[in-house]
Amino acid sequence: MEATTELPQCWKHVQQCLDNGIDRILLYGPPGTGKTYFGLHYGNIDGGSHRLICTEDMTTADLTGMFKPDGGSFCWHYGAGIKAWEGNGIVGGRLVVDEIDKASGDVLGELLALLDSPESASWENPETGRIHRPKAGFSAVMTTNVEDMNDLPIALLDRFPVRIRINTPHPDALAQLSKDLQSHAKNSADAGKRRISLRSWMAFDSLRKGIGAEDAASIIFGERAQSILDALTIEAV
């Protein structure tokens, strides 16, 4: 999918980085702005894109792979990290790691190894002994909702010199909303305590078509329904 309207500044920066050979980008900022979606679908992803969502319980198996039962025996299944390294066999793919701040120490250690410079990065398959290296074209996009970059490990930050705060939803994501809600979704994405995610707006948009705006707002926005509806009325003046 390509951007249909002029990109907001933050997205323009991301696009410029991708267009100019930057293959490690850290996107941070409020949730629901399309950071992951962008990582999975934009730029050169001929080698495919592979997504991981970090949790405290996640293990390195999700990154590199694991043995899984297969017809009475066990065989090796690659994790998202190695799949992204290998890409389509010709060029490397894209590794998209969400909620990077929630990764455990083990995962983070493995991740650092995977994201090392192509000259240093390598991994040995425990089953075959084959040495894997990232293929040319491998790229990585990390996302986090953490606002203060000091909360992330220095080694990880060192691997991501390009760190861009995304404060507004991508125009392509906004385009999926009804026109009258697009500006609201854009403005409320980075409204601090009064933030309303793009997902909430999409749910409201869908629901109001069936049960009317008042009931839809009540279900989606709860206590804020009245003030949000009042704001929508005033905006339409």
Partner: protein
């Protein structure tokens, strides 16, 4: 306790500024506490779940949506078309009208404090404040209570104020809705938003009404007992307060009917629908001239008798004057500033300009004409007894009539220093079009600052001669100023 309700200013968009995160605080639902600052994105509103709090929230949200950014408000005030209090009052009106139009219950706003405001302002006989308050309360429940307070002491003032508020509402509602709510910047101007031009138009009208003499008491038999208080004190206040309407501005010969008829003729101006027609002045740029010719004498300079000196020139006074002032003493002239409208419509030749300059020895003489090329548009042709022999290129547009007279007032040495403005009244702004609102701005300024206005070279020289003779020259309003005044005020423009 009612549930706390927030407000969502982040959802609002404007064409003149970026959206962003707001700081929202809470307050009681009392007049004076809620506020909105569009520049710093600060809002304080009541967060109670009551109809009144909701109406106040809608009001403040509408300010956030439409009103000028606070840091740009100064630019509107600097224009000098309307006063700051009038613009604030009319902006309240614009916001209230639009909120009501959207279905918000603006009648929920209003409490007994509004009634007390009415009573207090009548007691102070502060007619301008009463007008401003009535305008700002219009289309809310506050107006009814405020007028009740006014009527308790003066039924007639209450009626007049109600009529003024109604007229303001009608006028504001008559504007094109899309333009009234536009937040687009105004082309060829630093001003924004466009919708505020309508506020300024009505505010200029409100200023004129507020500056008129206060209406005279209408006191039919049996009235003045208070219209609702029923208390003996109130009726006593009423009788006492109303009966002593000897406040400033009241013209004793004017009947209430005459006043009502007069005020109905005071009409608002309109800027037109097109953004490019916003009346505004060009920036004043004063150029240099070579003041190479010395003119002897000084306007208003004269010799008077003194009891000390060298040569006794008034010997006859030794017998006739008890103080025996037989000597002469020179008294410095008060000087003056002569402003010459050197635009094409004045058809002034160089000789005519020179004649005026020679008739004004010792005066500061300035001429102006704007070519619209961004270069100098005013020149000092005479100062401190010297005048220029060569004149710059003039006889083009006006552009800076008001900035020029404003400059003269700012630069007069003493408030008593005379200013004579030679103009045909065809004052034009940036786009070189005459506009009533610009002409009215000049008229009001001349009246307020005692500027003598004369329409041509002959009357200017006659006025300067009067000054030389120690007499005060009189204003002879140009025909175009008279027309503007009649059109907007419904009366003759007097000296």
């Amino acid at each position: 306790m009612a549930l706390a309700i927030s407000t969502e200013p982040e959802l609002l968009t404007r064409d003149d500024t970026e959206s962003g995160q707001w700081s929202v605080g809470s307050c009681d639902a009392k007049r004076g506490l809620p506020k909105t600052n569009v520049s710093t994105r600060d809002m304080v509103v009541p967060m109670h779940d009551t109809p009144k709090a909701r109406a106040i929230r809608a009001h403040e949200m509408m300010h956030a949506k439409l009103s000028p950014q606070n840091n740009l408000m100064d630019k509107w005030i600097e224009r000098g078309i309307a006063s700051a209090p009038a613009m604030v009052a009319v902006e309240e009106l614009r916001v209230n009208i639009l909120c009501k139009k959207l279905g918000f219950d603006m009648d929920a706003i209003g409490d007994d404090g509004d009634m007390a405001d009415g009573e207090r302002l009548v007691a102070l006989k502060d007619w301008p404040a009463l007008v401003m308050t009535a305008i700002s309360y219009a289309e809310t429940g506050s107006l009814k209570k405020f007028l009740n307070g006014v009527r308790r002491h003066d039924r007639y003032w209450g009626k007049i104020l109600g009529d003024i508020a109604k007229r303001a509402v009608k006028q504001m509602a008559s504007f094109n809705h899309n333009e009234l709510t536009s937040t687009a910047p105004i082309p060829h101007s630093e001003l924004t938003p466009f919708g505020f031009t309508f506020t300024e138009q009505i505010a200029e009208w409100v200023d004129r009404i507020a500056s008129m003499p206060a209406p005279e008491e209408k006191k039919p038999e049996g009235e003045g007992e208070g219209s609702g208080s029923g208390s003996g004190d109130a009726s006593a206040d009423s009788k006492e307060g109303v009966a002593t309407h000897s406040n400033k501005g009241i013209t004793p010969h004017q009947t209430p009917e005459q006043y009502e008829a007069k005020i109905k003729h005071v009409k608002p101006t309109t800027y037109g629908s097109y953004v490019t027609s916003l009346p505004q002045w060009t920036e004043l740029r004063i150029g240099k001239t070579n003041l190479d010719v010395t003119v002897h004498g000084s306007l208003g300079k004269k010799k008077i008798a003194s009891n000390a000196g060298k040569n006794p020139r008034r010997m006859h006074r030794i017998l006739t004057d008890p103080h025996q002032r037989i000597f002469d003493r020179k008294v410095r002239g008060k000087g003056g500033i002569v402003i010459i409208d050197a635009s094409g419509s004045m058809h002034l030749s160089k000789d005519e300009v020179r004649a005026m300059m020679e008739s004004a020895p010792g005066c500061t003489i300035v001429a102006y004409s704007d070519l619209g090329d961004g270069k100098d548009n005013a020149w000092i042709l005479g100062k401190d007894g010297k005048i220029a022999s060569e004149f710059p290129r003039m006889n083009h547009g006006n552009g800076v009539d008001f900035p020029m007279i404003e400059w003269a007032v700012k630069n007069r040495k003493k408030s008593s220093e005379a200013i004579i403005w030679v103009t045909d009244g065809g004052v034009c702004g940036k786009n070189d079009h005459f506009h009533d609102v610009l002409a009215m701005q000049c008229i009001k300024f001349c009246k307020a600052n005692k500027i003598t206005v004369v329409p041509n070279q002959e009357t200017a020289i006659a006025s300067l001669k009067m000054m030389q003779a120690g007499r005060k020259p009189e204003t002879i309003w140009p025909a175009m100023f008279k027309q503007t005044w009649r059109k907007l005020m419904g009366s003759s423009l007097r000296k």
